[in-house]
């Protein structure tokens, strides 16, 4: 299930930041910046291999680009702080031209279910339009609204609502 996979990759990203090993990708590439002693190396302690994501992989996109941007309450225009992330997404997508994405629009729980499907659709479309304006072929981008049905934060407070008002760029095909 893709949600579980996303969760694992996200957890992986956290582990990478904290310097621990991440084994969710089956084929580690030794040229990708392993820094510590590799397997079989002489060491008195625990061997740690820090594996950076494969360039062009879904993990690379999530960790080094950012797959999610956030929106203000009941708004769907791309925020100033979202532009650098979407610019980076566009650059990455221009670099890896076989990648196809699905923009998933999400809303927080402080709204009715049906209106939130509409709002999520507008958010996904805003991101799509932004990426297209940065040179991405529209045929590579599909959109869907999840309304308020796929929150990433289970909380019922301002911080959780802010996180749940987002647009998620999911890679559907073509990643390494």
């Amino acid at each position: 299930m893709s949600v579980t996979r996303k969760f694992l990759t996200a957890a992986c990203a956290v582990l990478l930041i904290s310097g621990a090993a991440c084994a969710s990708k089956p084929k580690p590439n030794p040229t990708d910046g392993g820094t510590a002693t590799g397997p079989g190396g002489a060491s008195n302690g625990v061997d740690v291999t820090n594996m950076a994501p494969t360039p062009g992989s879904e993990q690379d996109f999530i960790v080094n680009v950012g797959d999610r941007v956030f929106f203000d309450y009941d708004q769907y225009d791309v925020r100033a702080d979202a532009r650098p992330i979407l610019d980076a997404q566009a650059r990455w997508l221009n670099q890896y031209r076989s990648v196809r994405v699905r923009i998933e629009g999400n809303a927080d729980e402080r709204g009715t279910r049906e209106y939130n499907f509409a709002l999520g659709g507008r958010r996904a479309e805003s991101i799509r339009n932004y990426l297209v304006s940065r040179g991405i072929d529209p045929s590579r981008i599909e959109t869907i609204s999840y309304g308020k049905e796929r929150p990433i934060d289970p909380g019922s407070n301002e911080e959780a609502w802010a996180r749940n008002r987002n647009g998620h760029t999911a890679i559907t095909a073509g990643a390494r």
Partner: protein
């Protein structure tokens, strides 16, 4: 009453934990007048003292016969939950030698202040069917108000009880009953971030709950057709959203088809021949209507704003819907062909999910204002707005077939959603006796 509600809830949990069962074809209990003549209607008005409703005291002793205790218990619970009746504790009863064919000793019932008395009996007939008859007595007027007999297969004893409660409710309030009905809803389980949402069905009193889908997609906003055996709902997958039609008697299910965009908010037309729904495409949401016979789809709105949550008037000639074409979500009414659009909501705040009453006299809606959500009603021309309830979050009103009660769901912060109902006066507001997490309830028409 509390004990009864809790027992029903516990039974619901047990039943919901087993595998989905095939919907049982309900065999309709038949009705015929009993031999004694019925009296003149004696309509009660809910008595209101300083804003507090004083329910009508009614005595409902156990019926004689194999299901007599159960039937009386369900009738009592139905009438009590309406908020307009106060069943008297059977321990207080003086007369114990009751016979459905004999007039009661009225003095014995006056002394415990019973305004009305129900005496009933059920027997198995030669075909193995359950025959239940009852008489409703006006204790102070010393006359029979109603005498009816119902016949059904024994496993349908609950439906007999609901029909008896409906007959009593109608006789004493002057409004049609609503107890022999079902509720379709979404049963929710799992953590908020990975919520499983299955289509589910139960009797209006929480009995006989069963799942109708397996949870492989997230079910939302189910609605009954006017024949109460068809349901339409939306289901959301990872990369698709579809609208389904499901016959709950035959279990036959079909999709409305593939659309370019996210489809949601389906509702049947009153005659069951059409479904109105919303399509989100490129950030724009419009109302579409599908003719279920020809499968032809007609566009009803083309405004570049959000147009959603369409709901037909009971005669099918008009539609109320939600649109933000004026800057914020408000309620609009138009002709069923999409012409003659005009805004009806006038107050401050944001209006959502309008639902036209089956009687045509009110439109129920969800309103958000000042960080809170409310269920309210207004006339179809927008006048007479009244908020009936208010809480942290609640939405999704659906009318009982008599147009006097509204079921909806409510969520406290960090707590799973529950089903609630409120009456049109706003004085009766209670949780539905179903203990699980549930949302998006829709009330069926009266069963046949």
């Amino acid at each position: 009453m509390r004990l009864i509600a809790m027992t029903a809830a516990a039974a619901a949990v047990l039943l919901m934990s087993v595998a989905p069962t095939v919907a049982q074809q309900a065999q309709s209990p038949s009705t015929q007048p009993a031999t004694a003549p019925a009296g003149q209607p004696d309509v009660i008005e809910g008595e209101v003292t300083e804003g507090v409703l004083r329910p009508y005291p009614i005595a409902i002793p156990a019926f004689s016969g194999p299901h007599g205790d159960d039937i009386a218990r369900v009738v009592r619970a139905d009438l009590e939950r309406s908020g307009y009746f106060e069943p008297i504790d059977p321990n207080a009863f003086i007369q114990r030698d009751l016979d459905v064919a004999v007039a009661p000793r009225f003095d014995d019932w006056r002394r415990i202040n019973a305004q009305a008395l129900v005496i009933g009996a059920d027997t198995g007939d030669a075909d193995g069917r359950l025959r239940s008859n009852f008489r409703l007595w006006d204790v102070f007027g010393q006359q029979q108000l109603l005498g009816l007999q119902y016949t059904a297969t024994p496993e349908n004893w609950r439906r007999i009880a609901h029909k008896i409660a409906d007959a009593i409710y109608q006789k004493l309030t002057g409004e049609p009953g609503y107890f022999d009905t079902r509720v379709v809803f979404v049963a929710e389980s799992g953590p908020k971030t990975h919520r499983i949402k299955k289509l589910a069905l139960m009797d209006q009193d929480g009995a006989n709950p069963q799942y109708l889908t397996d949870g492989s997609c997230q079910v939302m906003t189910p609605r009954f057709s006017s024949n109460s055996s068809e349901v339409t709902y939306m289901c959301l997958g990872d990369n698709w959203a579809r609208i389904y039609l499901l016959n709950i008697d035959t279990q036959r299910q079909e999709s409305l088809g593939q659309f370019n965009g996210v489809v949601f908010a389906p509702r049947f037309s009153p005659d069951g021949t059409k479904v109105v729904f919303s399509v989100e495409r490129g950030g724009n949401v419009d109302l579409m209507q599908m003719n279920l016979r020809t499968r032809q789809t007609t566009r009803l709105t083309s405004d570049p704003s959000i147009d959603t949550s369409g709901s037909y008037s009971p005669d099918g000639s008009r539609m109320v819907f939600n649109s933000d074409r004026g800057g914020s979500p408000q309620l609009y009414v138009m002709n069923a062909d999409g012409s003659g659009v005009r805004r009806i909501s006038q107050g401050g705040g944001r209006y959502h999910t309008p639902v036209w009453s089956p009687r045509g006299d009110w439109i129920a809606f969800t309103k958000s204002s000042g960080g809170r959500f409310s269920i309210g009603v207004m006339r179809p021309d927008g006048s007479g707005e009244r908020l009936l309830t208010s809480s942290y979050f609640e939405e999704g009103p659906s009318w009982a077939p008599n147009g006097r009660y509204i079921i909806f769901h409510r969520e406290a912060p960090g707590v799973n959603p529950r089903l609630w109902y409120v009456d049109l006066t706003g004085r009766v507001e209670r949780q539905v006796p179903y203990s699980g997490s549930a949302s998006d309830p829709a009330w069926s028409p009266l069963l046949n």
